[in-house]
Symmetry: D2
Subunit: 340 residues, 4 copies
C-alpha cells in the first residue's frame, strides 16, 4: 500500500474541521483530498480549499466514487453515521466514524457488519483513549504496576450544559456524554462491563428534567474480570472541564489529574491559587484528536487492528442503554439484558 493515505471528510462542522486541519498539519502520512458537507456554505468551501482539498462538494458520492480516496471520516450528524458508514464500506473505503455510530443497536450492528463484509477498517472516535494522561495510566496497568485492577473511578464533568432541547435528540446523558466514560472504563479495566446501576437527577437545570433527562449522574459498574467501577457526570462544573481517571489495583494505583493551561501558583493573603482545568474538550483533547487520527492512518497503512473498533462502540452503547434503563427502572441492569 502507498505510504500516504488519501482521505475524504464527510461533515465540515466543528469536529470535521478539527480532523481536517490535523490531517493537513500534523499527519504527514495522510493527505486531505476531499471535504463534503450536505449544507456546505461559502466559508466552508473557502476553508476546505485553503487546506488543499481537491474535492469540495455537497455530495458524499464525490468521495465514495473516487477511487483515489482510501479513507473516509464520518463527521456529520449522528443520525447519518450508520447510513454513511454502510455506504462507505460498500465503496471499499476505510472508515473513521465519530461516536456514536448510532443510537440504536440494530443500526450499529448493520454498520459494523457492512465494514466487516467489505473488509475495511472501522475505527470509532473515542478520542479520550488517546489522551496523554489516560494512556499513561493504561501503560502502567499493562506494565504490571497496578497489579490486578480492582476499582476504576472516573469523574467527567462538563463546564456548561447543552440546551435542554438537545436532550431529546441526543439520547440523554448516558448516550450523549457518559458513553465516553463507559469507553474509558472498559479501556482502563481491560474488561467488558457486565452490569450497571445508575442514579441521577436534574440538579442544574429543571428544564433538563422536564425534557426527561438528568444533568447529574452516578453509575456503578461491574466488569467481567471482577473489577468494580464508578463514573460521575455533571453537565456543569463551574471551574471548567473536569476529566479525571483513577485505576486502583492490587499493586498500586494511578491517578490522572486535570490538565492546566500553566503551572503558575499565586500565593497571597487569600491562599495559594492555581489555574482552572483547560476549558473544554477542544482544549483538553487537542493532542488526543491528532493521536487518534494518526492511529487510524497507521492502522490502515500498516493493516493493523484499529485501536477502537466498531465492537467497542457497540459495547459502549450497550452500557449507555443499560444505564438509561437502570435509571428509569431504578434497579441494576445487566448488559446482557440490552444486548439481546
Amino acid at each position: 500500500m502507498a505510504d500516504s493515505l488519501s482521505i475524504g471528510i464527510l461533515g465540515a462542522g466543528r469536529i470535521g474541521k478539527i480532523h481536517a486541519e490535523n490531517i493537513a498539519r500534523f499527519i504527514p502520512q495522510a493527505s486531505l483530498k476531499g471535504v463534503v458537507d450536505s449544507n456546505l456554505n461559502a466559508e466552508q468551501e473557502r476553508w476546505a480549499k485553503g487546506l488543499g482539498a481537491g474535492i469540495v462538494s455537497r455530495d458524499p458520492r464525490d468521495i465514495f466514487d473516487n477511487p483515489a480516496i482510501q479513507g473516509v471520516l464520518i463527521c456529520s450528524s449522528t443520525d447519518t453515521h450508520a447510513a454513511l458508514t454502510i455506504a462507505a464500506a460498500e465503496a471499499g473505503k476505510h472508515i473513521f466514524c465519530e461516536k456514536p455510530i448510532d443510537l440504536t443497536v440494530p443500526r450499529v450492528k448493520a454498520a459494523i457488519n457492512a465494514a466487516a463484509k467489505a473488509g475495511v477498517k472501522l475505527q470509532i472516535g473515542f478520542n479520550r483513549r488517546f489522551d496523554h494522561n489516560f494512556r499513561r495510566i493504561r501503560e502502567y496497568t499493562l506494565a504490571g504496576e497496578i497489579g490486578e485492577v480492582q476499582i476504576v473511578r472516573i469523574s467527567s464533568r462538563d463546564p456548561a450544559p447543552p440546551a435542554p432541547a438537545y436532550a431529546a435528540v441526543s439520547g440523554g446523558i448516558f448516550i450523549d456524554m457518559m458513553i465516553h466514560d463507559f469507553d474509558m472504563a472498559r479501556f482502563q479495566a481491560g474488561s467488558e462491563i457486565t452490569e450497571v446501576y445508575a442514579i441521577g437527577a436534574a440538579l442544574i437545570d429543571p428544564a433538563i428534567g422536564r425534557a426527561g433527562d438528568v444533568d447529574t449522574a452516578l453509575v456503578t459498574l461491574k466488569f467481567a474480570n471482577g473489577a468494580l467501577g464508578v463514573i460521575d457526570n455533571s453537565r456543569k462544573a463551574v471551574y471548567g472541564y473536569d476529566q479525571r481517571v483513577e485505576v486502583f489495583g492490587s499493586r498500586g494505583a494511578a491517578q490522572a489529574e486535570n490538565d492546566l493551561p500553566n503551572t503558575v501558583k499565586l500565593s497571597n493573603a487569600g491562599g495559594v491559587t492555581g489555574e482552572k482545568p483547560l476549558y473544554f474538550f477542544l482544549e483538553r483533547y487537542k493532542n488526543a484528536f491528532i493521536a487518534e487520527m494518526n492511529a487510524f492512518v497507521e492502522a490502515v497503512l500498516q493493516d493493523k487492528p484499529v485501536p477502537v473498533s466498531g465492537e467497542d462502540g457497540l459495547e459502549d452503547l450497550y452500557a449507555a442503554l443499560a444505564a438509561t434503563k437502570s435509571l428509569k427502572e431504578k434497579r441494576p441492569v445487566r448488559i446482557d439484558a440490552v444486548r439481546d
Copy 2:
C-alpha cells in the same frame, strides 16, 4: 458547672489509651480520674497510674458509683457498648461512646433512649468529622463556597485487611468500615441518606469472601436534599491509608487529598517521588481524636449539643445495614426499609 470535667474511661485497649493520653496531655479542661478494664493487666495498671488516674480497676461500678466523675468514655469491645451506655446513663454520667453503639437497631435505640431519659450527653466516636481536611470542606460548604451540594465522593481504603475471622464478628465491611464513610457522607451532604446501592467483591483475600464478606465495595447514595454520593472502600491499598473526600456543588468543588508525613519530593532519573499517605488511622487522625474529645468536654461543660449524636450513630447504622442488604439482594435499598 465546674470548669474541668472529671472523666472515667471504660476499656484500656488501643483506642481507650489514645483518649486517656489525649485527656492527660491536651485537654486542660478535663482530668482523667479513672481507668477500668475488665481484663486489666499489670502493664495497663502501671500506665493508668502514670497518667494520674486515681481509680484503676476491673469494675465499671467504680466509675459509675463515683459521684466525682461526670463523664465516661466507653472504649470497650463493641458488644458491651450498649449495656455500658445504658448503665452510665442511669448513673447520670455524660457519655462518649466509641462507634458503633451496637450492631442492632433496637439496642442502639435503647442506648439513645437511656441517655435521653437521663438527660445526659451522648456523643459517638466518629472521629473523622474532626479531621482538619474534612472539616475544612464542610466549612467551605457552610460558607456557601460550594453552593448547593450535588455530588459527594469518598474514597476510603485501609492499608491492610483485618484477619478474615474478624468479618464474622465485625458485621462486615459496611458496618465495620464504611460506617465511617456513611457518617462522613451525611456530614458533608448536610442531609440524610435515603437510599443506597452496593456492589462488592472479595478481590483481595478469598478467605474474606468465604467468611461471607467483601473486601472491595462501591456504594451509591441518594440524599434527602437531592444530592448524590458514592463511597469506595478497599481493605488493602498497598500505598497506605487512602482517605479522600470531595464535595461538588453548584458554585464550586472542594477536594481533600491525603496527609503526608513530609512535603519532600525527590527528583531523579525515575521520576519525581513524594511520600505515601500517613500509614493508618492512628497517624492520620491523631489530631482528630484530640479535637473530638475537646468537643465532647466542651459540650458537657457548656451544655451545648454534642457534634455527633446517638441519632447520628443510628442513621449511620441504618445506612450500613441497608448497604449490607443491598449487596445481598442485588438491588437498591431505601433507608426507610431498614428503619422500620
Copy 3:
C-alpha cells in the same frame, strides 16, 4: 501592508527547521518563501521544498535581493548573526535574529544600529518570554497581584552538558546558557540589571573546568528598581530540564513549576511518583517558539514594537559579560563597567 508576511530563513539547522515548520503550520499570517543554508544538503533541500519554499539555495543574497520577501529569520551559527543582520537591514528586511546577536558588544551595537538606520524591525529569539508559565507570572505582576517586585528567583538547569569543546566557542556558561535567564530576570523584574556577582565551579565534568568554564553557577542580581535576584544554572540535572521562575513581592508571590508530559501519579509501596519535567527545550518551549514567531509577524504586519528588541539582547549580553568578569575577578561587577 499586506495581511501576510513573506519570510525567508537563513540557516536550516535545528532551530531554523523549527521556525520554518511553525510558520508553515501555525502562522496563517506568514508564508515561508525561502530557505538558505550555506551547507545545504539534499535532505534539507527536500525538506524545504516540502514546506513550500520557492527559494532553496546556499546564497543569502537570494533572499536579500528578492523584493517579495519582507522578513528574514537568522538561524545560522552565532558568528554569522551580526553580519547577516546588517546585510538584511541594508536590504530593508525585517529581522528576527536568534540569540545572541554576537559575543562582542561592538558587533551587537553595529547590528542594532543597522536595523535602526534601515527602519526595520529587529527581534531577538529569547523564546522563554513567550512560555505560558513565565508569561503568566508577568501578567500577575502587571495586574498588580505581586505588588512591588522584591525578589526574582530563577532555576535553570539543562538535562545534559554540551561537549567540553563547546565551551571555548560558546563564550562560556553565562553567555551561552545563563543569558536566557538574564533576559528572563529583566523581563520579570521589569527593570534593568545594575550589578551581578557570580560564583561557579566545574562540578559535573572536570573537562569543562579545564576548558576554562564552569558547569554549575549562581549569580545574584541587583535591579535598578531596587529588587534583588538570583539565578542558578547547572549543565546537568539528571531528572531533565528544570525551568522554574519565582517572583516575590509586596503583595504576593507567583511561582512557575516545570511542565510535565502528563499528570499521572503512581502510588505504590515505594511512594507516589509523577513524571519528570519535559526533557529539553524543544519539548518545553515548543509552544513558546510558535508564540514568539507570531509576535514577530504581528509586530511587522501591524507596525508595533517587537517584544524583545536588539537593545534587550544587548542588555542581556552585558549581564552575561559582567557575570563572566565577576567569576574571574571574584567580586561584584556593575553593568556600567562592561557597558562603557
Copy 4:
C-alpha cells in the same frame, strides 16, 4: 545514669514555655524540675507550678545549686546566654542553649570552652534541623539519593517584620534571622561555609533601613566540599511563613515545600485555591521543638554527641558576621576573615 533527666529552665518567655510544656507532655524521659525567670510574674508562677515544677523562682542559682538537676535550658534573652552557659557549665549541668549563644565570637568561644572544660553537653537550639521536611532531605542525601551535593537553595521568609527598633539589638537580619538558614545550609551541604556574598535592601519598611539593617537579603555561599548555595530572606511574605529547602546533586534533587494546615483545594470560577503555609515558626516547627528536646535528652542520657554543638553555633555566627561584613563592604567575604 538515671533513665530520666531532671531539667531546669532559665527564662519563661515564649520559647521557654514551649520547651517546658513539651518536656511535661511529650518527653517521658525528662522531667521539669524548675523554672527560673528574673522577672517572674504571678501568671508565670502559676503556669510553672501547674506543670509540676518544684522550683519556681527568680534566681538561677536555685537551679545551678540543686544537685538533683542535671540539665538546664537557657531560654532567657540573648545577652544573658553566654554568662548563663558558663555558670551552668561550672555547676556541672548539661546545657541546651537557645540560639545564638552570643553576638560576639569571644563570648561564644568562652561559653563553648566552659562546657568543654566542665565535660558537659552543650546543644544549641537550631530547631529547624529537626523539621520533618528538612530532615527527610538530609536523609536522602545520606542515603546517596542526591549524589554529590552541588547546589543548596533556601528560601526563608517571615510573615511579618519585627519592630524596626529590634534591628538595633538583634544584630541585624543575618545574625537574627538568616543564622537559622546558615545552619540549615551547613546541615544540608554536609560541609562548612568558606565564603559568602550578601546583597540586601530595605524594601518593606524604610525604618528598618534607617536603623541600619535590611529586610530583604540574598546571600550566596561557597562550601568547603565545592558545593554552592544561596539563601533568600524576606521579613514579610504576605502569604505567611515560607520555609523551603532544595538540595541538588549529581544523582538527583530533593525539594521541601511548605507545610499547610490542610490539604483541601477549592475549585471555582476563580481558580483552584489551597491554603497558605502554616503561619509562623510556632506552628511550622511545633514538632521540631519536641524532636530537638528529645535529641538533647537522649544525648545526655546515653552520653552521645549532641546533634547541634556549640561549634555549630559558632560556625553559624561566623557566616552571619561574614554576611554582615559583605553587605557593608560590598564584596565577598571569606569565613576565615571573620574567624581570625
